[in-house]
C-alpha cells in the first residue's frame, strides 16, 4: 500500500453562496522513500492540495468537498483533531515557501525546534536541546552551538529554510511536504537546499511531496511528477518518462518556457493567454483556449484521464509525443 494515497480530492472555495471548484478529482500516490513533484503555475491548486493533506484548510474559505487522503492506511480527513495532531509533525511534516515568515519571530530557533520535538517526544528540555543541536548540524547550519540561540531575523533566508527543515525533521517524519521550499531563495542556495533534502531523504528514509512551479527543480530530485492545470492533474508519470515523452500540450508549454542557458534565444516560447479565473466557466478542456492542438472536440468535451503508457496518465484528447 502506498504511504500517501489521495483519491479524487475535490476542493471548493466558498464565495458568497457559491462554491467554486479549485481542485477537482486529484488522485496521487506516494510510495515509501519516493519523491513526488507537483508542478503547475500559480493558482492551479497545487498548494491547496498540500494544505488539504496537512489539514490546514480548517477555518479557511476552502472546503473539502469530496475524496479521501489515506496516510499509512488511515483516512486523514476522517481523523478527529486530536488524532490528527498526533500524526502532524510526528509522522508527517511540512515546510513552507517563505522562510522569512515561517519561523516565529519571538523565539530563538533552538527553542522552536525544541517545541516541535517536545510536542511528540517525552524527554527533558536538556535532551531536546541536544537533539535540536544535532538537527541543526544535520541541516548543515554552520556553528550550530552559536546559532541555536539566534533569533530568526538574525539569519539569512537559506539558513532559516534550513532551520525550517530541521524543525520538520524533529521527529523523523515518514512524509515531508515541501511547498515551494526554494522559490524564495537565491539560485545557489536553492541548489544547496535541494541537495540537503535529497541527502536527508536517503539518510532518514522518508517520502517527499515537492510542490513547485519549476520543472527544473522537480526534474532534479523527483521520482514522479504530476502536472496540474486549473485544479486538475493533466499529466502524471515517472520523471524519466515525463521528460522523454511529454504528452500534454500544457507540459510541453511549461518546458518550452524554461530559458535555455546553452544558446541565446530572443524569445521564450511562453504559453499564450492566461489562466482563466475561477468564476470563468470554460466548456470542454480547461486548457483549450491556450492550446496549440485544440479543435472542436476540446471545446465541447472535457477529456478524461487515460494512460498513454503504463503509469503515464494524460488528460488530453490529443496527447502529443510518440503516440501522435
Amino acid at each position: 500500500m502506498a504511504l500517501l494515497d489521495i483519491r479524487d480530492l475535490d476542493l471548493r472555495i466558498a464565495r458568497g453562496r457559491e462554491l467554486l471548484p479549485v481542485v477537482q478529482g486529484v488522485s496521487l500516490a506516494v510510495e515509501e522513500n519516493e519523491t513526488l513533484g507537483i508542478v503547475g503555475e500559480s493558482g492551479c491548486g497545487k498548494s491547496l492540495t498540500a494544505l488539504a493533506i496537512m489539514g490546514l484548510l480548517e477555518g479557511s474559505v476552502v472546503r473539502i468537498a469530496g475524496g479521501s487522503v489515506h496516510f499509512r492506511g488511515r483516512d486523514l480527513l476522517a481523523l478527529s483533531p486530536d488524532e490528527r495532531r498526533r500524526v502532524m509533525g510526528d509522522q508527517m511534516a511540512m515546510i513552507f515557501q517563505e522562510p522569512m515568515t515561517s519561523l516565529n519571530p519571538v523565539y530563538r530557533v533552538g527553542d522552536q525546534i525544541r517545541e516541535a520535538i517536545l510536542q511528540h517526544r517525552r524527554m527533558s528540555r536538556k535532551q531536546a536541546r541536544d537533539r535540536a543541536l544535532d538537527l541543526l548540524e544535520l541541516v548543515r547550519i554552520p556553528d550550530p552551538l552559536r546559532r541555536i540561540d539566534s533569533f530568526p531575523h538574525q539569519m539569512s533566508g537559506g539558513q532559516r529554510q534550513r532551520v525550517m527543515i530541521a524543525m520538520a525533521l524533529a521527529c523523523d517524519p515518514k512524509l515531508l511536504i515541501a511547498d515551494e521550499p526554494t522559490t524564495a531563495l537565491d539560485v545557489t542556495v536553492q541548489k544547496e537546499v535541494l541537495e540537503l533534502m535529497r541527502s536527508l531523504q536517503a539518510r532518514n528514509g522518508m517520502s517527499i511531496v515537492l510542490i513547485s512551479h519549476d520543472l527544473g527543480v522537480v526534474s532534479e530530485i523527483c521520482d514522479k511528477v504530476a502536472v496540474m492545470y486549473r485544479g486538475k492533474i493533466v499529466e502524471q508519470a515517472s520523471t524519466s518518462t515525463l521528460f522523454s515523452n511529454m504528452s500534454h500540450p500544457y507540459t510541453l508549454g511549461l518546458l518550452g518556457s524554461i530559458p535555455s542557458t546553452d544558446h541565446d534565444v530572443e524569445w521564450l516560447d511562453a504559453i499564450p493567454g492566461r489562466v482563466p479565473t475561477l468564476d470563468e466557466a470554460v466548456p470542454g478542456c480547461a486548457f483549450h483556449p491556450r492550446c496549440f492542438a485544440a479543435n472542436e472536440s476540446c471545446r465541447s468535451a472535457d477529456p478524461s484521464a487515460s494512460a498513454v503508457s503504463p503509469a503515464h496518465i494524460v488528460r488530453c484528447h490529443f496527447p502529443q509525443g510518440s503516440s501522435s
Partner: protein
C-alpha cells in the same frame, strides 16, 4: 541581552522620557514607603490648623478638616499605583483574552466583538459612570470598572493583531508540528502580542489615573475617606479661591504622573520591535 541593558536602551537619547521614568520612580517609592515618608497621619483631623498655607510643619498646607495635604498626597500615590496597575491587569487579561479568542474562533468572535462594539459606543467616562452608579463605591469596584472600560480598546487592538498573526506562516508551521489550539494561541501567538500589549499597558496606566480622578471628582469613584489625588481635588474644590494650593498640588501630581507615563509609553512603543535593538546592542 540583560534586562538593565535593554531598559537603558529604551531611554537612550530620550531626556524627557528619562525624567518621566524618574518621576514615576519617585511616585513608586512614595507609594511603597508611605507610612514611613508621610509626616502625619493622612486621616488625622486637626481643627486648629484648618486651611493653613504651605509651610512648616505642613509643607503642602492642610485641608478644611486640618488634615496634612502632603501626607494625603503621599498616600494618594498608593491609590494611583493601585488603580493604575489593577486596571492594567484587568484590561489586559480580559481584553487580551476576548481579542485573541474572538480572532481565533471566528463564530465566537462575531458574538464577543459585537459586545465590545456596543461598549465602545459609549464615551469612556460615561461608561465608567454608568457602571459605577450600579456598584458600590470601593477601591476594588473602581479598579474593575476602569479595567472594563479599557478592556474594550485592548480587545479591539489584540483582535486586529491576532487576525493578522493567525494567518502568518509560522502558525501554520506550528499546527503542522502538531500544536493544538491552546498551544497555538498561548505559545505561538501570545508572545508576539506581548510587546504591543506592554505599550498598551503604559497608556492604560496613564488614562486610568485620569479616569479615576474624574470619577473621584464626580463623587463616584473611591470612597471619600480614601486619600487619593482625585478625592483631594473633589473635596477641596470649593476652597479654590481661599486655598488654591489644595488643588494645585494634587492636580499637578496627576498631570505630572500621566504625562510621565505617556512619555515612558512613547519610548516603549518606539522600542517594541526586537529587530531594531540588535543593531545597537550586538547579539
Amino acid at each position: 541581552m540583560s534586562v538593565p541593558l535593554s531598559i537603558a536602551l529604551v531611554f537612550r537619547g530620550r531626556a524627557l522620557a528619562t525624567i518621566g521614568a524618574c518621576w514615576l520612580l519617585v511616585v513608586g517609592i512614595a507609594a511603597i514607603g508611605a507610612p514611613l515618608l508621610a509626616p502625619f497621619d493622612p486621616l488625622e483631623i486637626d481643627p486648629f490648623v484648618r486651611l493653613s498655607e504651605p509651610g512648616w510643619p505642613h509643607l503642602f498646607g492642610t485641608d478644611h478638616f486640618g488634615r496634612d495635604s502632603l501626607s494625603r498626597a503621599i498616600y494618594g500615590a498608593r491609590m494611583a499605583i493601585l488603580i493604575g496597575s489593577g486596571s492594567v491587569l484587568i484590561a489586559l487579561v480580559a481584553g487580551g483574552l476576548v481579542g485573541m479568542l474572538s480572532a481565533y474562533f471566528v463564530r465566537l468572535g462575531h458574538l464577543l466583538m459585537r459586545i465590545v462594539d456596543v461598549l465602545m459606543a459609549f464615551p469612556a467616562l460615561l461608561l465608567a459612570l454608568v457602571l459605577m452608579t450600579l456598584l458600590e463605591r470601593s477601591v476594588l469596584n473602581t479598579v474593575i470598572v476602569i479595567g472594563i472600560v479599557y478592556a474594550t480598546t485592548t480587545a479591539r487592538i489584540v483582535f486586529g493583531m491576532t487576525l493578522k498573526l493567525k494567518r502568518d506562516v509560522f502558525v501554520d508551521a506550528a499546527i503542522c508540528s502538531g500544536a493544538g489550539h491552546v498551544s497555538v494561541l498561548f505559545r505561538h501567538i501570545l508572545p508576539n502580542l506581548m510587546s504591543p500589549m506592554l505599550v498598551q499597558a503604559s497608556f492604560i496606566f496613564a488614562f486610568a489615573q485620569l479616569q479615576a480622578a474624574a470619577l473621584d471628582f464626580l463623587g463616584l469613584g473611591l470612597p471619600p475617606e480614601v486619600p487619593s489625588w482625585g478625592n483631594m481635588l473633589s473635596e477641596e474644590r470649593i476652597y479654590v479661591t481661599r486655598a488654591p494650593w489644595l488643588l494645585i498640588f494634587p492636580g499637578s501630581l496627576i498631570i505630572l504622573s500621566v504625562f510621565s507615563m505617556n512619555l515612558v509609553g512613547d519610548a516603549l512603543r518606539d522600542n517594541i520591535d526586537p529587530r531594531f535593538k540588535d543593531d545597537i546592542a550586538g547579539v
